[in-house]
């Protein structure tokens, strides 16, 4: 533990506009960005766990197709009825779980956690603002998110169950399944998109308008830049999906044919539709959102990583300007790479060539960011705290995820790898040991600011090492399975294509490839158990963790640490004035190895 820094504890502040004991206005209908951030955080963590549990049940079905699920099987059977008869997972239910795992993880867990929770709590603090620019819009944004989440959650229990056509909801399949799950999905998405839109407008306006005096653009912490670019991605990429969602809803409810081609047959009969629609149109509109969405998932994580690296290496980030310009380039380029998800749709080779080129281009700023972060470690006095461990692991994990994406971005190699477990392994490396590790790091790092108490370091390290090992045990074998030709989205885990089932088939899945399912299942279960120390540590530390003895326990430079702990409504006791850049660590000639952005220090004139 470093020596106690000289920052004093501020006395608790109760501003006059916040009445004590008004539970509803303080915790439920709050307009305080910090409370809204925590609401987002708790709701998103719940959905993260829920999405994970869906996945573990699916892994059981993949490893042991058709056998009753242990422990939760009877519960599933009693709640969901025939579709989970005798505690087994029917193919329809498997499809539902698959579609909803993706939807929940992307739209209800990671984005709300990375953008809604961390962004809401930290962006106003880091730019020295008293709150968001539009506090009531901020509250509405959270409420729309909750409504969208409830609609998605409830759809499991309607007749026919939740949406079954994947998180991508490709028509005509999505529209041909004769249940209402897809309609619920679409209505839920409209609420979630509205929520993101309100949040994005608010974030961008806040960063533009509410920066404290002296907080110039190039003095913004990289985390704020990352959130700023993310805000633009959400603002401009989501509306086309909203348009597509409205059109699919029209197809479902008003029987239009936006995405239904002429002559479509469903179940051996000509569909009762006017025809003339285009399934490709949906894919274009969907991926126009969903590729920028990938960067919505990763940019805030990179922001968290940058903050924690600078703080724990005790030196400035290497290449701050390169990081900023790379983030801006990623933001721009992410709008013109979407069709690399569609090489095999028959959209044409010249279009493929264009999107291959832009896809290769966008890897450049991503590599610059990762390189800057690696070089930042060089020569640092690294403190191996729990958040720093997660961040150090983020770098190679994100590297694996990124590099394995290149073969998918080239249309030739994509022919072999498309729609296999290789793809699943690739993007989970980005999001699971990538983004989620950064989010864990952020939780451990900012926990003392939010609660005034530290999380337990030992159990944090247990959580880290177990998560790191089991994440890799889960996703590494999937690369091999995918390259061996195992398709994703199969309710039987590929048993119908195995050599055991059809020995005479050429290229059937070997026993070795099929056997990996069992290892992955138990690694997934172990990963779940590895989260128990985190969950217990999290809740236990809120009330019983070691109290921090100052407002700036990590000796950080950015403004969120120059507030009382926890920050009151209105944030700062005196309006901050920013005097320097965000990462002034180990400045030669200074007494301490960190100089906060707002601190008035005597000018250093000459070296001793």
């Amino acid at each position: 533990m470093p020596a106690a820094p000289p920052t004093a504890i501020h006395p608790p502040v109760h501003p006059p506009d916040q009445e004590e004991g008004a539970f509803w206005s303080k915790y439920v209908f709050s307009t305080d960005h910090k409370v809204i951030g925590l609401q987002y955080g708790m709701t998103a963590l719940f959905f993260l766990l829920f999405g994970f549990i869906l996945m573990v049940i699916m892994r059981w079905q993949i490893a042991h197709p058709g056998q009753p699920v242990p422990l939760v099987g009877p519960l599933l059977a009693s709640v969901l009825g025939d579709t989970a008869a005798k505690g087994t997972i029917s193919p329809d239910l498997y499809n539902s779980f698959g579609a909803m795992h993706g939807t929940i993880m992307v739209f209800l867990a990671i984005v709300p956690l990375a953008f809604g929770a961390f962004g809401n709590y930290l962006v106003p603090l880091q730019i020295g603002a008293p709150d968001m620019a539009f506090p009531r819009v901020n509250m509405a944004s959270y409420q729309f998110y909750v409504i969208g989440g409830i609609i998605m959650f409830v759809s499991f229990f309607i007749p026919g169950g939740a949406a079954q056509a994947g998180w991508t909801s490709y028509p005509p399949l999505a529209e041909s399944i004769p249940t209402d799950g897809q309609t619920f999905w679409l209505i839920g998405m409209v609420f979630l998109i509205t929520s993101s839109l309100l949040g994005a407008v608010n974030f961008i306006a806040t960063v533009i308008q509410l920066r404290a005096p002296g907080m110039t653009w190039m003095r913004l912490p990289f985390f704020v830049w990352a959130q700023f670019v993310t805000g633009f991605l959400l603002l401009l990429a989501f509306p086309p999906l909203e348009a597509a969602g409205i059109m699919q809803l029209m197809d479902k409810v008003a029987h239009t044919s936006f995405f239904l081609p002429t002559g479509l047959a469903v179940g051996g009969q000509l569909a009762d539709a006017s025809g003339g629609g285009s399934p490709l149109l949906w894919q274009h509109l969907f991926w126009f959102l969903a590729h920028p969405e990938v960067y919505v998932l990763i940019l805030p994580a990179m922001g968290i990583v940058a903050e924690i690296i600078a703080n724990n290496t005790r030196k400035p980030l290497w290449g701050y300007r390169s990081l900023v310009y790379s983030a801006l380039s990623i933001g721009f380029l992410s709008f013109i790479v979407w069709a690399h998800h569609m090489y095999l749709t028959g959209m044409g080779t010249s279009i493929s060539t264009f999107f291959q080129t832009t896809t290769m281009l966008i890897s450049i700023p991503s590599v610059i960011i990762l390189t800057c972060m690696f070089i930042s470690l060089w020569g640092g006095a690294i403190r191996f705290t729990t958040p720093m461990l997660f961040v150090i692991a983020f770098l190679p994990m994100f590297g694996i995820g990124g590099l394995t994406g290149l073969p998918l971005g080239l249309s030739t190699s994509d022919i072999h790898l498309h729609d296999t477990y290789y793809v699943i392994a690739h993007f989970h490396y980005i999001v699971a040991p990538g983004t989620i590790f950064a989010l864990f790091a952020g939780i451990y790092y900012w926990f003392p600011k939010v609660t005034g108490r530290m999380m337990n370091d030992f159990w944090g390290k247990v959580h880290f090492w177990c998560s790191l090992i089991f994440m890799n045990l889960i996703f590494q074998p999937m690369f091999a399975q995918g390259m061996a030709g195992m398709l994703r989205r199969m309710a039987d885990g590929g048993a119908n294509y195995s050599q055991a089932r059809v020995p005479e088939a050429v290229g059937g899945l070997s026993a070795g490839v099929m056997g990996l399912h069992t290892y992955i299942l138990w690694a997934a279960v172990a990963l779940g158990i590895a989260q128990v120390p985190f969950i217990l540590n999290f809740f236990w530390s809120i009330g019983h963790g070691r109290t921090v003895d100052c407002d700036n326990p990590w000796e950080a430079t950015t403004l969120e640490w120059q507030t009382p702990t926890p920050p009151p409504h209105g944030n700062f006791t005196t309006p901050p004035v920013v005097r320097r850049g965000p990462y002034e660590y180990s400045v030669p000639g200074q007494e301490r190895d960190f100089t906060p952005q707002n601190e008035l220090v005597p000018e250093i004139t000459a070296s001793p």
Binding site: P130, A205, I208, A243, A244, F258, S274, G275, G277
Partner: protein, 258 residues
């Protein structure tokens, strides 16, 4: 706790918060309608030859509605200028005009919708197609004002020199009817995109009118307490209103003329 720049202008950006917010919101609206216009292009390019409709909409009515909306934009600017010039009475008059014009627009649009929902294409058992507006629907017969066509293609280009515009009263026994479908969004992808685009636009008109109506009615009390803030609100809602008008300026030629 006061949030800075809610009313005053931030010196380095030259804007107050809500103005940044509305421009960002309008940027996202551009993407929303842009996606739907792209959908229109893709559907039209991919449509079968001779089966994309021309002349299905009433151009004089569309032109009238365009003029109505443009006029409402002018009254909106004048309402804002009146606030700036400290003439609250004139503000009330101009925004009353805006609200009347908005109601007129929605009224004309409803009439056009009604016209489509009462327009039927009826396929008879002998292969002929009767097309026209429903006059009477009885259990044993259907009466329309319209015409017969032999080839379905003839229904699509009403602007062609050969197109027949002779409409007469036709009585069809129910027993002869094979299929009967109104010109709703389910009838053709052109109508699907027409109803989606104009419906979404109409929702924007109604939403904008509600906000302007609030500022005209109960919300105008703010004028006495904080005229500057009230004027800002009028400006923000006006920006939205101009955007909604501009969407129509694109919708009108795309759907009615070309």
């Amino acid at each position: 706790m006061d949030i800075p720049y809610t009313v005053a202008i931030r010196p380095d950006t030259g804007l107050y918060n809500a103005k940044v917010g509305i421009w960002l919101f309008l940027a996202s609206e551009v993407m929303l309608f842009g996606a739907l216009f792209s959908a229109y292009i893709l559907l039209r390019v991919g449509a079968q030859d001779d089966f994309w409709p021309h002349g299905w909409l009433n151009i004089p009515l569309g032109t009238l509605n365009t003029l109505v909306l443009i006029t409402s934009s002018i009254t909106t600017v004048l309402a804002w200028a009146s606030c700036k010039m400290n003439q609250f009475g004139r503000f009330k008059v101009f925004h009353a005009c805006t609200l009347i014009l908005a109601a007129t627009f929605v009224g004309i649009k409803s009439y056009e919708y009604h016209d489509k929902f009462t327009h039927y294409e009826i396929t008879l058992n002998d292969g002929r197609i009767a097309d026209g507006h429903l006059l009477e629907s009885k259990p044993d017969r259907v009466v329309i004002r319209g015409r017969f066509v032999a080839d379905r293609k003839d229904l699509f280009d009403l602007r062609a020199p050969t197109a027949s515009h002779k409409h007469e009263e036709i009585t069809l026994p129910r027993a002869d009817i094979k299929r009967m479908e109104s010109y709703g969004p389910w009838h053709h992808t052109y109508l699907a995109i027409y109803f989606t685009l104009t419906g979404l636009h109409a929702l924007h008109v109604i939403g904008g009118a509600i906000v302007i109506g609030f500022l005209w009615g109960p919300g105008s009390r703010l004028w006495r307490r904080d005229p500057e803030r009230f004027t800002n609100r009028v400006e923000i809602s006006g920006l939205f209103w101009h955007f909604v008008d501009m969407v129509w300026i694109f919708l009108f030629p795309v759907l009615y003329l070309i």
